[in-house]
Symmetry: C2
Subunit: 410 residues, 2 copies
């Protein structure tokens, strides 16, 4: 393990000297290699699928695990898109001359060795490898056990392109020891690893946060709210609420609780109720909600649960302050939305809500690196430090100060 | 402890709503209060000084601990300067319209609750309190035991200004349990504390890095090098080398090892030797160094030591690559300098050295928030994530995305 990590660390010197054109060319070669070896990847993936079925993985998991021709092509396409992104290294982020006539430049540089720990979807392997490569970082990838054959196949193909280009295969590699012990070692090696990005279940993320000595930017749960303010446009309110919950209920930026002002609850809740029932959503509500519509009573625990399913809590509040208090208590700092035509209410919500993404009159489902225009994403950070919200290639860089003098002493 | 931390956390809502003018006014009131209560602070400080002498603290430590009228005035002045800094909250860092016609704004916001752990110098208490207040953060301060009377006096004065302004005193407070156990608890409370900045000895920082579940930005050791390239201007080389080591040997941005190209060692080392001997510097050197001047042999351990004293290692290398290899091996990623008139060598050094601050033809002693123009500094980060190098008020902010829609769904 130490030997592997030492090689990974020393490879940072090699990747940091690759110029933008070379990196782009190699990424395109990787895309071609993925495309050409599609049938090999699908063959290996079918081993994972067979094991998954044998181990009774649920259908949603199996669907995420599956690679077919279309998904392999999408993986290749994503690498081509990453290759076309603006070079993230060497951006001049700031620059000035100080009182000593030193010219100070703040310039983006790669982070170094980045470990990404993720589950199920094997396309993450090529996406994250591509993003790390483009941003000049060495990638150590640890996918889920259920996707082991698929991830190995993908990594092998990417490494073959590195070999053809006479680059060390350590630039992109799977964690050699993929057991829990392997992960436990990885997250402690702060002299070799510069960043850990865990994406996955709450248990995994809590374990890593508590035990890592390497800095962690976590892709944690999304407990998102949509608040329908008394001055909301009813049409926007209903369509956004339905979209935020139902378009894809199993993802982190989907809504878990709908909050609505008492003042318009009587008028609006019945139509909202109907729309959700039509969409097959299981509804619960606070006691005030049950004055207006007939739903099961939502408990404290319900308000604190990321359902990841077509299920929703409804909460009736007396004011925007109550809505903000509820969100501050239960929200996970991921994505929160207000629906209102009222300027002052929108400003108050935007400023008071402490979350990575705060929306006015739009669905929380938009929190996504690709949608934001970042190209692919490494994850959605629920950290406050370093990166917050969707993380693209720029969030895989740090900076250094270059200081140009002409003999200055202090 | 939990109760105290919960109060601190809930106070973030209060400070985040204070406008820029109010914060500036209160900071000026704090400066006045410090100035007016100078004799009280000096009185309390004299208790720390007496205890320090009784406990045989060395003279350098005692000097750092001492507060006299000049230093109290400087503390007050620093608060006035902080009050005049540009408002760090609400800066629009980026903004664009995405393909869905959502207007996305990336805006700076306070981090939340910031814990700063530091040693000896009591002026850090008011500096850090001022920086946190200006940037809308709640400050939890843990100074050294040796400065306990002084720190309590300063905190009490700052809190009295908060009280006059009807603000919770939790906005600026000393950690109630200032024992090691108190610190151990603080760094685990990631639901209440958003950032820990440890400043101090290696032991403290290693302990915190290993045990914290709160994100840590560490102000770690500085093992800094100055590399005299073969095309260096001899005059600049000598004056920068002397300044980097001798102007203030006990600080993190002072040089520990001087590296020099063999090609100019014969010509330059004797004068360098003389200059350092005149400055009272204790010298050691690699075996190649001893071909040119008579110094004690430097061991591996010497090259790996932050002396924090007027002591220096000298290393003779055959090329810039060897210099970079040495720095990569022993450097702490703090500040590194090359002295050269050669353009290509300067570019290579700037790009290949992985450190927060990389200098051409200037002393590493310039790595400092005030010198960089940041106003006062929270510390100098040796982290790669979030903040690197001098940390001012902007580094005490994170960001959120504000997203303005008109009914968009996905």
């Amino acid at each position: 393990m130490k030997e592997f990590l030492a090689k990974a660390k020393s490879s940072t010197q090699i990747i940091s000297t690759l110029d933008s054109r070379t990196k782009s060319r190699i990424l395109k070669e990787m895309a071609e290699a993925i495309f050409e070896n599609g049938s090999y990847i699908i063959e290996e993936n079918s081993k994972d699928m067979a094991l998954g079925k044998k181990n009774n993985l649920d259908s949603a998991l199996l669907d995420r695990l599956l690679l077919d021709k279309g998904r392999v092509t999408a993986m290749a396409k994503s690498l081509v898109e990453i290759s076309a992104l603006r070079e993230p290294v060497g951006r001049v982020l700031d620059g000035w001359v100080n009182d000593d006539n030193l010219r100070i430049e703040k310039v983006s540089v790669p982070i170094g060795v980045v470990g990404v720990i993720y589950e199920s979807r094997p396309n993450v392997t090529s996406d994250v490898a591509g993003l790390c490569f483009k941003s000049g970082n060495v990638a150590i990838l640890k996918g889920g056990k259920e996707a082991e054959f698929s991830n190995r196949a993908i990594a092998k193909i990417l490494q073959s392109v590195l070999e053809i280009n006479k680059l060390p295969i350590e630039l992109i590699s799977l964690l050699p020891d993929s057991t829990r012990e392997g992960v436990a070692k990885l997250i402690k090696e702060d002299s070799f690893v510069d960043l850990i990005v865990p994406r996955g279940g709450e248990g995994l993320i809590r374990y890593i946060s508590k035990n890592a000595s390497v800095p962690v930017v976590k892709h944690d749960k999304g407990l998102c709210h949509t608040y329908i303010h008394k001055d909301a446009d009813p049409k926007k309110a209903i369509s956004i609420a339905i979209n935020a919950k139902c378009q894809r209920p199993g993802v982190c930026n989907a809504m878990e609780t709908l909050i609505i002002d008492r003042e318009i609850a009587k008028k609006l809740l019945p139509s909202i109720y109907k729309a959700f029932v039509d969409a097959g959503t299981k509804l619960k509500g606070c006691s005030a909600t049950r004055e207006f519509i007939f739903v099961e009573l939502a408990t404290e625990d319900d308000f604190d649960t990321e359902y990841l399913a077509n299920q929703l809590n409804i909460k009736v509040v007396n004011s925007i302050d109550d809505a903000i208090t509820h969100i501050t208590k239960y929200g996970s700092g991921h994505s929160e939305a207000i629906i209102t035509e009222n300027y002052t209410a929108s400003e108050k919500f935007l400023n008071m809500i402490d979350a990575a993404c705060v929306y006015v009159n739009a669905s929380t489902r938009f929190t996504d690196g690709a949608v934001f225009g970042f190209g692919a994403e490494v994850g959605i950070s629920t950290n406050k430090l370093h990166a917050r919200g969707p993380m693209g290639i720029n969030e895989l860089t740090t900076y250094k100060f270059k200081i140009y003098g002409n003999g200055q002493i202090r």
